[in-house]
Structures are given as structure tokens and as C-alpha cells.
């Protein structure tokens, strides 16, 4: 940490300060220092750039760009800020993509949403937003959504025209005598979900893959700013419906930090419990999805059966199976009726009785092993360079898990260990998912035991302790929070104004964004038949990919 601070202090900074336990927060005076500093950081070991998050301050005429550098090994992180002029013509900064490949898409996103131009970026094209937003920057505070929506038919025509033009260009550019073609994998492929991969292939062989994303872009980061701090949870949880609890936990932690509120032990334990239930139900889908993509649907169906028991618990607790909206700033939304634990126990029992069969039939499946053992290998170096996280990173043997690195809620009181898998192949990622479920079940058992014990001893009151009051108006401030989401690290960057009733800016860094970036890297030179397998093994969800 001291070394890192020294390096940053060598440059002219407005301030350098320690933030939380493992962060250093600094603001550079001049954007010209950025590249040299980034070089020094990379040498020091901070090899991943988690995300790039611009904030548009309309009144100050400033576009503040936040960089979040991370070191997955020694757990030292840097939060770096730079001020840029707000005018579109002058809003330019040197790109960090040549140094940190993980920044590639994040810089593209900042470019398309805020119009920050990154000089010397190898591939600075629009991403996420559709063709009708070309040349305008929807997340800028002065963008008029109403006026844009008035020309709806024209906008749709623009999207259609652009698609037709792309197909025509493909035909012109490709050599008619060769066997090269451009294939569209998705968005209606059974295994794809709402994503389109432009697969440039020569016969069976994949030459390159360019994902076209944004089919479910709901501009959640913008929607949040239109709601109050409580109402925002329904936008945040729609990051991905499969693990909605943990994303809300991340957002609520950021709000609580700004409001300076401490939640009760009961609420923090409930956050652990609910979060792990959501993680398990998400992982069940992931496991099933992997086999679905190979072409065997049995595991998916079996998992759905077991998952339903866990969803029953969520439904009893919150009143909804999937969009639970059950974590609010200040704690958890509902009190707990202790009889609900009977339902959770039913789910745990169901898991215990079925896990053996799943393991024997699917996890140790020799055909699956043959098929996936040497496919889609990600090295440790890739994980660092491309800022991968969650099970994808752990499958390559990198010890990263926010629950242990930067414990939140009640994770510091739990008995937790890094579980990793060497190899980094598609099979390892599948194994990792399976082991992660088992770990989550252990955590659920621990949390359940702890809550039951504390309630029996009278330390916690399950019907009254669940909420601490958070003021409706928050002071000016900003905070970041990280949670270990089902798919990896989610980083929330929340900015509020003075006496704010709603967030001024919320950046949600979602893991699937980085993982989808890897498709080209993994599939180059492989055959078409590997696409579903590798895509399935990366455990991508389009919800958090597009946001």
C-alpha cells in the first residue's frame, strides 16, 4: 500500500487519500500524466483496470472520469480521477487500452454514453446503444430523451437501415471466391440469448468474433437517477434477475456509506443468507445452461426442480420469486418469520438428496470432460489483463473473491476459503460453478445456524431489527462498493448532490461485460462448434452485459 501511495504521490495530485481498507483515492491535476502513471501502476502490479466511469457535472462544465485499477493478487486498488472539459470537442483523454486490455470495452462504453473520446484507442466504436443514438450521448445530463423518443418510427428505420447496410457491406468486402462468410450467431439462437455475435469464419474455422451487444439495453444507470433512493432498487435488481439480491446489496452499501448509516447485525446476516440463496439459484441456471449449450437438457430441468425450492423461500420471505426487491438502504426490507426457515431447510434437504446424482451423472460425465477439457483455456495472465472475476477467474487459479478480499455484510464473521481450480478450461469453469454452489450451501447453513442461535438467545429480533432509518435526503458525496456477484465482481460507483433525493450518477460495473470481451480471444482459430460451448462456459448474462 505504501509503495502504491508513493507512486501516486510522485505526480501532481489534487489529493491522495486512503479510502476504506484496500483503496487509495487520488485525483490527478493534469490528464497528461495519465499514461506515465498508468505505466508505473502496471509495473507495480495493478494489472487490471476494473472500469472507466465518467460523471457529467453539468453546472461545473466538467466531465470527471473515474478509473478503478485493481490488483487481483495483492488486493491493492486505486481509484483515480481526472477532470476533463465537458464540451464534446474538447472531451479527450489518452486511451489506456494498449496498457490495460480490460479497458477496451469500458472505454467504448464511456465514449458512446458520455462522448469522452479516448485517443489512440484501437477500436473506438459505439457499443450498447442502437444506431439511432449515433452522434448523441444519452447519459449526458443535457440529453433530451423525450425529444429523441418523439421520432420513434424514424429511429426504428435508422436501425433497420444500418443492419441492412452492414449485411450488404459484408457481401462486398468478403472475397467471393473464398469460403469466407459472416455469420450472425444470435440473437435468436437457442443458446445465445439476446446477443448477436458477428462470426467471421472461413468454412468451419473462426477468424474473428465481434459481439454486437445492447439488445436488452435499458439504460438502467440513467433510470436510477430518475427514482428516489428506495425506488432505485427495482432498477438495480434488474441488472440480472437470476442473482438480484447481491446487486441490491452493493447499491445499498453505497447509499449507506454516503448516509453514514450502520445496519443491524440481523440485517447483515440476512443479506448474507439471501445473497447466497440468490447465488445458488443463479448457479443452478448456469450449470444447466452449460449442458444446454452442449445439447443435453436434463441437468437444466433437474436444476430447475431444485432451484424452485430455493425460490419458494425467497417468495415466502419477500413475496416474489424472482424480482424480490427485498434489500433496501438501511437493511433488509422485511422482517423474518422464523417459520420461513422450515422452507429453507426443505430446500437444503432437497439439495443434499439430489447433489449426489448430479455429481455422478453430470459433473463426472466422461463425455462432457472429453468435449470441454481443452477448450477455451484462459491463463492466469489473461485473467489479470482482462480484469476477469468471479468463477471465471477462480477457474484459472486466481485467488479472487470479494467476499474475502473486502468483506461486506457479515462475510467477515464466516468461515470462508478461496476455492480455485487450476487449468482455466471450459470444464474447469463448470467444475468451479459446481464447487461454488456447494460452498454457498455451506454459507447458507452457517448463516441460518447463526441467525437461529442469535434469535433464540434474544440477541436479534427478527421482526424489528431488519431496518435502520435512512434519511430521504442524502448529503453530497460519493462512494464505491464492491460485491461478489454470482458472475463476478460488481462495482457500484454512486455520486450524490447536496440534499439529493435521487442518485446523481450510478455506475454499475458488471462482470459479463469483461467476459464477453474474451469471446474473440478464446474462439479465434477454433471451429464453429465451439461457440456455444465456450459461450456457455463463460456464464454470461445479457442482463448485466447490457444494463
Amino acid at each position: 500500500m505504501k509503495n502504491l501511495r508513493k507512486i501516486v504521490e510522485e505526480f501532481s495530485c489534487e489529493y491522495v487519500e486512503n479510502y476504506k481498507k484496500i483503496w487509495i483515492k487520488a485525483k490527478l491535476n493534469s490528464k497528461n500524466d495519465l499514461l506515465t502513471l498508468a505505466n508505473a501502476l502496471k509495473k507495480e502490479g495493478l494489472r487490471s483496470l476494473s472500469t472507466v466511469s465518467p460523471t457529467d457535472f453539468l453546472e461545473d462544465h466538467i466531465m470527471e472520469v473515474n478509473y478503478f485499477f485493481e490488483d487481483l493478487e495483492t488486493k491493492r486498488n486505486l481509484w483515480l480521477k481526472i477532470d476533463l472539459p465537458r464540451k464534446v470537442e474538447e472531451c479527450k483523454v489518452e486511451s489506456l487500452t494498449p496498457l490495460f486490455p480490460s479497458a477496451a470495452w469500458h472505454e467504448r462504453e464511456a465514449f458512446s454514453m458520455f462522448g469522452v473520446e479516448f485517443l489512440h484507442h484501437p477500436d473506438l466504436r459505439d457499443i450498447l446503444k442502437s444506431e439511432d443514438f449515433r452522434g448523441v450521448y444519452p447519459f449526458r445530463k443535457d440529453f433530451d430523451w423525450g425529444a429523441h423518443e418523439k421520432n420513434q418510427m424514424q429511429n426504428i428505420q435508422q436501425i433497420v437501415d444500418a443492419f441492412k447496410k452492414e449485411q450488404e457491406e459484408n457481401e462486398i468486402e468478403l472475397d467471393p471466391d473464398s469460403s469466407e462468410t459472416m455469420l450472425n450467431w444470435g440473437p435468436t439462437h437457442p443458446a445465445s440469448g439476446p446477443i448477436r455475435l458477428r462470426v467471421h469464419c472461413d468454412g468451419e474455422e473462426v477468424i474473428s468474433i465481434d459481439p454486437d451487444i445492447g439488445y436488452v439495453w435499458r439504460a438502467l444507470e440513467h433510470l436510477v437517477t430518475k427514482k428516489d433512493f428506495v425506488g432505485a432498487i427495482v432498477a438495480v435488481e434488474r441488472l440480472c434477475f437470476m442473482d438480484n439480491i447481491n446487486s441490491m446489496v452493493g447499491y445499498c452499501m453505497a447509499v449507506e456509506e454516503i448516509a453514514d448509516v450502520k445496519i443491524t447485525p440481523f440485517a447483515s446476516w440476512m443479506r448474507v443468507l439471501l445473497g447466497e440463496v440468490a447465488r445458488v439459484s443463479s448457479h443452478f441456471m448456469g450449470l444447466g445452461g452449460f449442458f444446454n449449450n452442449i445439447g443435453l437438457h436434463t441437468l437444466g430441468m433437474w436444476n430447475m426442480d431444485t432451484r424452485e425450492f430455493f425460490l419458494d423461500f425467497l417468495e415466502s420471505y419477500s413475496g416474489a420469486r424472482i424480482a424480490t426487491a427485498s434489500i433496501e438502504p438501511g437493511g433488509v426490507r422485511y422482517g423474518l418469520d422464523m417459520s420461513m426457515f422450515d422452507e429453507l431447510q426443505k430446500a437444503l434437504d432437497k439439495f443434499d438428496t439430489t447433489v449426489g446424482e448430479v455429481e455422478a451423472i453430470f459433473v463426472k460425465n466422461p463425455t462432457m470432460k472429453l468435449r470441454s477439457d481443452n477448450v477455451g483455456i484462459l491463463s492466469k495472465e489473461d485473467v489479470h489483463e482482462f480484469g476477469l472475476s468471479g468463477i471465471v477467474a477462480r477457474a484459472s487459479g486466481v485467488k479472487t473473491d470479494i467476499r474475502i478480499d473486502e468483506p461486506y455484510a457479515a462475510y467477515d464473521e464466516l468461515d470462508l476459503k478461496y476455492i480455485t481450480q487450476e487449468g482455466g478450461s471450459a470444464n474447469d469453469r463448470f467444475m468451479m460453478l459446481f464447487r461454488d454452489i456447494k460452498q454457498s450451501i455451506e454459507i447458507i447453513k452457517q448463516a441460518k445456524f447463526h441467525i437461529e442461535k442469535a434469535v433464540a438467545e434474544g440477541e436479534m429480533n427478527p421482526t424489528k431489527d431488519h431496518m435502520v432509518k435512512v434519511p430521504k435526503k442524502l448529503p453530497k458525496g460519493e462512494a464505491i462498493s464492491r460485491v461478489e456477484w454470482a458472475r463476478g465482481e460488481v462495482l457500484m460507483h454512486l455520486v450524490t448532490e447536496e440534499k439529493a433525493k435521487s442518485p446523481y450518477r450510478l455506475k454499475m460495473r458488471a462482470p459479463s461485460f469483461n467476459h464477453t470481451m474474451m469471446l474473440n480471444h478464446l474462439l479465434k482459430g477454433r471451429t464453429l462448434s465451439d461457440i456455444p460451448l465456450i459461450f456457455g462456459s463463460l456464464y454470461i448474462c445479457q442482463g448485466d452485459l447490457d444494463r
Partner: protein, 187 residues
């Protein structure tokens, strides 16, 4: 080996005997129906104080306030179910006690199962306020208005009396008849 085979045959035989869990017609009966289940809204127009907070917090603008021809508490929520995401925040913010005026939990889950297209063109929770209720409320309002006028008259009279007192004149009417009458109305 033989044991294993026996074991598996037994297992299959057992599973043949167990009734299938898929024996409920979920259109009419839910598989799992907890108390907190967030279903169709029920609005109680009698307790609703018309504070508009459910409308304000609704993240999808599913709630519109219906105007009643009254002076106070003259709005009640109506919910567009095709926009509603059933987050239940409107129930959370509703300030009436002990029963909330807008409730989702424990609501109907079979909102779609009963009807077909005709029902879906009108996919709303309507708050039908009967004319008799409005009339009674109007009467109440009229009564309070009369009360208020009387009170105002009394106050004016008192003020006048005080003024006169200050001027040195003796109060005549104000202290004798009117205050007693007004007092009774106030209580």
C-alpha cells in the same frame, strides 16, 4: 453388483408409486402461495387519505390518482397492472394505520388466468367509489363547512367584542347567547 441393480430397481419402482407433483391446475390453485405474495392490489377508498405518496414512489408510473368530486382527500389510486412490476413499494409507503389503504401482499395471483383478450384491454385495478359514499362524504364536508363558518362567525364576534371592550364599551350580545351554542358544536 446385484445389490446395486436391486437398489436401482427399487428406486424406480418407488418413483412409480409416488404421486406426480404436477397434479394441480395452477390456473386456479397456486403451487406455493405465501402470505406475503405480491399480487393484485386492493385499494380501500374509505381509509385512503389521498396523500399521493404511492403515486410518487411508483418506479414505473403504474399508479394514477382518480379524482373524486370532493374538496379534501379527493384522490384515490388506480393501478395499471400491465405496467406494474409488483415491487410493493406503494404498500410500504402507505401511511394509514393499522390497515394500509393499498395492499398487494396476499393478493390474487391468477390475474391473467381467468380472462382472455377482452379482460386484458382493461387490465386495471379500478377503484370504484359508490355514489352513496361520495354523497355521504359531501354531506360531511357540507357539515364541516357549516361548522367552520359558525366558528369563524363566533371568532369574528369575539374579536368585535374584544375591540369594543378595549374601546371601553360593555359587551352585550357576544357573551350571552352565542358562545354556548358554538361550544356545543365544537365538541
Amino acid at each position: 453388483m446385484i445389490l446395486k441393480i436391486l437398489n436401482r430397481t427399487l428406486r424406480v419402482a418407488k418413483s412409480l408409486m409416488t404421486p406426480s407433483p404436477a397434479n394441480k391446475d395452477v390456473r386456479y390453485e397456486a403451487m406455493h402461495n405465501p402470505l406475503r405474495y405480491r399480487g393484485e392490489h386492493r385499494v380501500d377508498y374509505k381509509t385512503c387519505i389521498g396523500c399521493d405518496s404511492c403515486n410518487k414512489i411508483c418506479p414505473t408510473h403504474a399508479i394514477t390518482m382518480k379524482h373524486l368530486p370532493l374538496k379534501k382527500q379527493n384522490i384515490v389510486p388506480e393501478v395499471n397492472l400491465s405496467v406494474c412490476i409488483f415491487c410493493g413499494l406503494c404498500e410500504d409507503v402507505c401511511p394509514t394505520k393499522p390497515e394500509k389503504s393499498i395492499i398487494l401482499s396476499g393478493g390474487r395471483y391468477d390475474m391473467l388466468s381467468g380472462g382472455w383478450h377482452d379482460d386484458q384491454t382493461d387490465f386495471w385495478v379500478h377503484t370504484d367509489v359508490p355514489q352513496s359514499y361520495i354523497d355521504s362524504r359531501l354531506e360531511e364536508e357540507e357539515a364541516t363547512r357549516v361548522k367552520k363558518e359558525l366558528i369563524a362567525k363566533k371568532k369574528a364576534a369575539e374579536a368585535e367584542a374584544k375591540q369594543k371592550e378595549a374601546l371601553g364599551e360593555t359587551p352585550k350580545k357576544a357573551t350571552t347567547t352565542q358562545p354556548d351554542f358554538n361550544k356545543g358544536v365544537l365538541e
